[in-house]
Symmetry: C2
Amino acid sequence: MTRKVTIRDVARRAGVSVGTASRVINGSGNVAAELRQSVERTIIEIGFQPNSAAQSIRSGTSRTIGLLVSDIRTLRLAHLVRGAQTELERAGYGVFIACHENDREREAQALQFLSRRRIDGLIHSNCNDRETEGDATAPGMAVPTVVYDRDGPEHADLVQIAHDAGIRQAVEYLAGLGHRRIGLITGPGFMYPARSRIEGLRAALSDAGLPFEPRNVSATSFGEAFVDVSNMITRPDRPSAIILGGASMLGGALRAIRAQRLEIPRDLSLVAAGDSELAQLATPAITVVRWDMEEIGRACATALLSRIKTPDAPRRRLLVDPELVVRGSCAALAANLRAAAAE
Amino acid sequence: MTRKVTIRDVARRAGVSVGTASRVINGSGNVAAELRQSVERTIIEIGFQPNSAAQSIRSGTSRTIGLLVSDIRTLRLAHLVRGAQTELERAGYGVFIACHENDREREAQALQFLSRRRIDGLIHSNCNDRETEGDATAPGMAVPTVVYDRDGPEHADLVQIAHDAGIRQAVEYLAGLGHRRIGLITGPGFMYPARSRIEGLRAALSDAGLPFEPRNVSATSFGEAFVDVSNMITRPDRPSAIILGGASMLGGALRAIRAQRLEIPRDLSLVAAGDSELAQLATPAITVVRWDMEEIGRACATALLSRIKTPDAPRRRLLVDPELVVRGSCAALAANLRAAAAE
DNA sequence: TTGTACGCGTTATCAA
DNA sequence: TTGATAACGCGTACAA
């Protein structure tokens, strides 16, 4: 176990003062060329590494960003994280990743943990954006914050997906195929995405001259896709097309559809909001509304970096427009009816 | 921007010395009940959070673990990370995640970065375990280290998958189905998994009384699965069964097989080493040799924690046995031949 | 241009 | 049991 090597060791060995050594290390102030070289050589020789904790305590900045999401095992969040990470590391920041797993308590703990680490900024995807009062009182929340795809607290910058616009694209596409009863199954209403999607559905249906039917909308808890889809597709007046809000629902939805012996797209058209490996690999491949999580991660990072640079700038909101990717899970309604009648 | 609140603020406001405040905060030493309560109340009132950088600089320990893998966008690595993270957080450690993306330079940079942060331990999955001499000289490598699924440097503890045993299970299963020409396609030989798999194949074939044919083994770079599989299955004496080493190869392999208009399992049996969503969802579902990445992440964490506790304990090696999960991608050879003849 | 010395927030030692 | 104070490693104001 070698004892740690400090800037004093460098100074002593190079025959200079710690001040000079520090100036060489940070490139601040002028240092004679010969001394500089001597110090630089010494640093390499004895393998000196500045202690970032000491730097942090001295400078009041930790060069660390906190990144708090539900779970990096979710592929799209892993992509978000990587996008943010590359951008932040490029700027010299380290990234502390924490997962709240949609548990308010865990989230609070993580926030407190990050606060003790004196993070310089936070990228946060809350697990509940309707009750952020807890966070407001939470210590360390005055830190520059970018909230991803949630309605964050007052002081935070926002990076959000325009889910309403995505739903609109899906509805226009489906309406163009002749569908008149379009269902939406999405997550719980205490998070921005679900609210935005429902709003988008309402507007898009109205524009298409179609009625908004509350029974064709299901906004409940996660992981219940099987149940929600089953309920919706077993009704006699079931929708002929369903929009699935949330990529994590696709598995359950497909199982439900299969269990009812419905065939996609013959008996039911399906659009998923959010791309996934499953959507690409399913047969038929699922038509989706998608956005690039890695790019969004980078966007969160740059937003945060500029917020850190100019803390008093007005609050910003970045809205990312999704893109419709047509694959094989939707059929024109006429064909749909024909096939159904032929059975 | 509220000024940071320090332990001195707590002490002053509670009317005690910083020493007493510190003792209350850390639960070290005895403090009179009334003083303790007063301090505790004050801490909550003014929202004091110990500055972990200062704690670190004082105690010489950062309560931080570095976790260096190729890429958390790989689902199984995300699982490993979460497993390790939960275990380490439970023990009061924060986890600094870095990705080297199989680039030696990035890896060195990450190592240096983590070293400056004075991590107390490292969980590392090297991108090349045949040239670790660079790491040895790298500063900060004296830190307690657990290497995952690589042949790490001398001082590191090892957590490895028994890939050889996994291949053996696959070979025994395939041989039992009548297969005599069994191919193996795996990653580059400068990493432990490929070496272990080839070794396992050799031993298992020998035990089954089958010849080891070098041309039925392909150990090249990643991401070339399509090419490697194509080459192997277009040969006139192609194997009747292929073992795929590395879950990331499955996509390319399936495309290659499809491109040759071979049908699984009729024309070709397939076993994948490493489970994946794709393996479960493909039709037919792919028979795999699998292991639980989250459990392994936890194992890495506990190994590291005990290493930190007892730095001088002898080097340990944990070998995890894979498990064969039979699904639908393998057929008895007889049926295979019959079908082929009927074409 | 260089060196000295102080302070960052904390813990630990030592006297009281 | 409590308080005063030294140290941890570093950056920087100030003096030389």
